[in-house]
Symmetry: C2
Subunit: 185 residues, 2 copies
């Protein structure tokens, strides 16, 4: 059997949004990182809010080599029980992350930019709607932009090309199964 | 800031199902592959039906090294326009893949087993419901099992721990944008 190698007549950057309350938004973004790495593309990941709890993808992307630039910018989920940092500190981190997004985006070094949990950061007012829309507007045409997190803003959905809503049908934690490495973190 | 390294009191294999018509099911499974690789886990992927069109994850997983055993078993989507192979040939391939699943599952060499598009293969009668349920029943307790594809069977959903339904809110192809490498394949 011959294997088809697709090549679009026109390569163009897509804006992909993964939202909803189910498992599989960050995982999906990381899958695109793996896929893009397979194509030899250059990838930048900026994780908003995350940073206080180790997750396997931090080491997973190292295996992909220098083509992935991975940035963890947060101190955990703002307002979640047990998180000791005030809103102002979470907001400062997220605002620094927005600056980093512009730097990375304008460097022209990347084919794929993942902004993990940015929808959440917007919902929690750690970043502002106009800041997110500005990132989308200033995105270079060739750059793929993937944005994850619950509660994506309707205007962000409007401005995106591909949007998936990941709905929880069931989740192991509801059976009191603890988060498991490799699957949940 | 100190980084928390979670470790569950009890490690146990989870059955995760990713279904629905939206983008992000295989991507999500590949993200779990990347995450599990970061944890140093041993991973086996068996793609049902896929095999006729190159996708970036085929080379992406090679970058993760020998800890990933990746198997492409199909000849494309049965019944889709342009696919030249009869149902009987697709079924034979899928039946061989089921044998491979049992071999890999019983080898005790893996911590994560991904059965990509198996829901689709079931829906298209390339595999039978009792075969899929048997795989789920015989799964060793420690093994994570991730199953993707549209139209997951209700009994498969019943027997799973975590299930997400990925719904299409919008997709670039509806604007006549061709599939793009790194994102769509």
């Amino acid at each position: 059997m011959e294997i088809t190698k697709l090549e679009p007549e026109k390569r163009q950057g897509l804006v992909v949004v993964l939202t909803g309350n189910g498992k599989g938004k960050t995982s999906s973004a990381m899958g695109m990182v793996l896929r893009a790495a397979g194509h030899g593309m250059r990838i930048c990941v900026i994780q908003f809010m995350k940073g206080d709890i180790y997750s396997g993808e931090w080491d997973g992307v190292k295996l992909l080599g220098e083509q992935v630039d991975f940035n963890v910018t947060g101190k955990g989920f703002c307002g979640i029980q047990g998180n000791p940092y005030p809103h102002s500190e979470h907001r400062k981190n997220a605002q620094d992350a927005v600056k980093l997004v512009h730097e990375k985006m304008m460097s022209n070094k990347f084919d794929l930019l993942v902004l993990d949990e940015i929808n959440n950061a917007l919902q929690l007012t750690l970043v502002d709607l106009n800041q997110v829309l500005e990132i989308m507007e200033k995105r270079p045409d060739h750059l793929h932009l993937v944005m994850t997190g619950r509660d994506a803003h309707p205007q962000v959905i409007d401005a995106a090309d591909t949007v998936s809503q990941v709905n929880e049908i069931k989740h192991a934690y509801r059976k009191d199964i603890e988060p498991q490495p490799g699957i949940d973190y």
